[in-house]
């Protein structure tokens, strides 16, 4: 049962990612990416991270993908890939790099160092939203403030970028 609960979202995530990579139309790619994000958010739920499940759906699926779709449709750049890469070695290099990474992944399993130590704290509600809020506003308060500053900077940056220059 656990394996099924893991397997279905994992399969959907992989199919979504591959379809995103292969799709010629940028709008389709963005929608496949949305499928992938939704599948990953289900995996977050399985990993006992309900807060991140909601955050993933709201920010990634709700905001980032909509922004992508908006820009693709605004630019009319759905099919903006006519010619192949200027550098013919880039595609071959990409495949070699991908295969190397997959071999590394296989080695991880072959040289499996055994089981990972299990935590002493076996409390299943360790990542309830209240616990996250407690940690976020006490231990990690400074990064939280810096994140708000980064968001403000991005906001101002976008406004400055799109100013009409005389």
């Amino acid at each position: 049962m656990d394996l099924l609960l893991f397997g279905i979202p994992a399969l959907v995530a992989i199919v979504g990612a591959i379809a995103m990579l292969l799709s010629r139309n940028a709008v389709h790619s963005a929608l496949y990416l949305l499928l992938n994000f939704a599948a990953i958010s289900v995996l977050y739920l399985l990993l006992q991270a309900p807060f991140l499940f909601a955050t993933q759906l709201i920010i990634y699926a709700g905001a980032i993908i909509v922004l992508f779709l908006f820009v693709v449709m605004l630019l009319g750049a759905e099919r903006d890939e006519q010619a192949p890469h200027a550098n013919p070695w880039q595609n071959r290099g990409a495949f070699v790099g991908g295969v190397l990474l997959l071999i590394e992944l296989a080695l991880l399993y072959v040289n499996n160092p055994g089981t990972i130590p299990i935590a002493a704290n076996l409390n299943d509600g360790f990542a309830a939203p209240t616990e996250i809020a407690k940690a976020l506003f006490t231990t990690h308060l400074l990064p939280f403030e810096i994140a708000s500053f980064v968001l403000l900077t991005a906001l101002i940056g976008v406004v400055v970028l799109h100013q009409r220059r005389s």
């Binding site: 995996l43 990993l47 991140l52 630019l75 903006d80 991880l108 990972i116 704290n121 996250i132 990690h140």
Partner: protein, 100 residues
């Protein structure tokens, strides 16, 4: 219970697809989407290990990664719109003005 290593393997696979997307696709939009996929793969690893050690810190790091990703997408897409206005394309091979 599904092993943490399976989540790590899934996230590694998604990361490889993201790397392939960054190198294979020509449209800057597609490169951006692939970068988002790689960020998500890294997030999945962090959440998997957070569950392994029952620690909330990794989940908070994922929260910050999502925040920075949102800021990055906003600025990146704004830059892309500006480049498109000037060059009328999103082809990254043609964005070589600063090439030495």
């Amino acid at each position: 219970m599904v092993s943490t290593l399976m989540y790590v393997a899934l996230s590694a696979f998604l990361f490889v697809i993201g790397v392939l997307g960054v190198t294979l696709r020509k449209s800057a939009l597609m490169v951006f989407m692939s970068v988002e996929l790689m960020l998500n793969a890294a997030n999945l690893t962090l959440v998997a290990f957070a569950n392994q050690w029952k620690s909330v810190d990794a989940q908070i790091m994922v929260f910050f990664v999502i925040t920075i990703a949102a800021a990055e997408v906003a600025v990146g897409l704004a830059l892309l719109v500006m480049i498109f206005r000037r060059k009328n394309t999103t082809d990254i091979d043609l964005m070589n003005t600063l090439r030495g």
